[in-house]
């Protein structure tokens, strides 16, 4: 992995998202995720996604503290906070949320660019929770 590849990352995303007041699944999204690894355990993260069922656009950006298991480098967890914006505040309020994230590279040998993950987040103003199950394809290397 190159220096810039390790520092910066871009990923194509596909998500199933669930909001705590909605039916299953709330929506299916696709978009782009970006990360900048500022230190071994601090990263900036950002994303933009389009929700197909409710035709919304949302974005999020923030900071994350991340830990990777040294014995399983393809598994990591992160705790962070992100600011959310969207064109449909009923679905995704404009607010800061805190989140917990788990990412896993299931086939590091055959498909090292494929990452799966889950994220739970909680809106500090709306007091609404959401969950995300996603697949990423790493564009940078």
């Amino acid at each position: 992995m190159t220096f810039m590849g390790a520092l910066l990352g871009a990923y194509l995303s596909a998500n199933g998202v669930w909001y705590d007041q909605a039916a299953l699944p709330s929506d299916f999204e696709t978009g782009l995720n970006l990360k900048a690894s500022l230190s071994p355990h601090i990263s900036l993260v950002g994303s933009g996604d389009y929700g197909f069922e409710h035709s919304y656009i949302r974005g999020a950006g923030g900071v994350r503290l991340t830990l990777t298991d040294p014995n399983t480098p393809d598994l990591s967890v992160g705790l962070g906070a992100q600011y959310n914006v969207s064109n449909d505040h009923d679905i995704r309020p404009q607010e800061t949320s805190v989140d917990a994230t788990l990412g896993y590279r299931p086939f590091p040998g055959e498909q090292p660019r494929v990452i799966v993950g889950v994220q739970g987040s909680y809106g500090l103003q709306s007091h609404k929770a959401s969950a995300l199950l996603g697949v990423r394809y790493q564009l940078t290397k």
């Binding site: 995720n33 230190s39 990591s76 990412g103 889950v118 990423r136 790493q138």
Partner: protein, 81 residues
């Protein structure tokens, strides 16, 4: 500004002591006098902005590699989510 001035300002290395040391080296080893003289000239030459830029271009990739190893560049899969 010269390289010796820069070393003095950045790291507190006394420029005159370096000059004296190199002069002693040249006196003790006359065979090296020419090389020492060239070194002193290089250390005492004015640093033009383009020279500083070329030195930075030389040093920067190495510095980034060190930063990569020491500070950044952790590939956490969860950062992708």
């Amino acid at each position: 500004m010269t390289v010796l001035d820069l070393m003095q300002q950045a790291a507190g290395i006394p420029a005159q002591e370096i000059r004296d040391l190199l002069a002693k080296l040249a006196a003790a080893a006359p065979g090296l006098a020419d090389e020492v003289s060239k070194l002193v000239a290089a250390l005492d030459a004015d640093l033009a902005p383009e020279k500083i830029a070329s030195m930075a271009a030389l040093i920067l990739p190495e510095a980034l590699d060190i930063l990569h190893l020491k500070l950044a560049g952790q590939d956490h899969p969860s950062d992708a989510i």
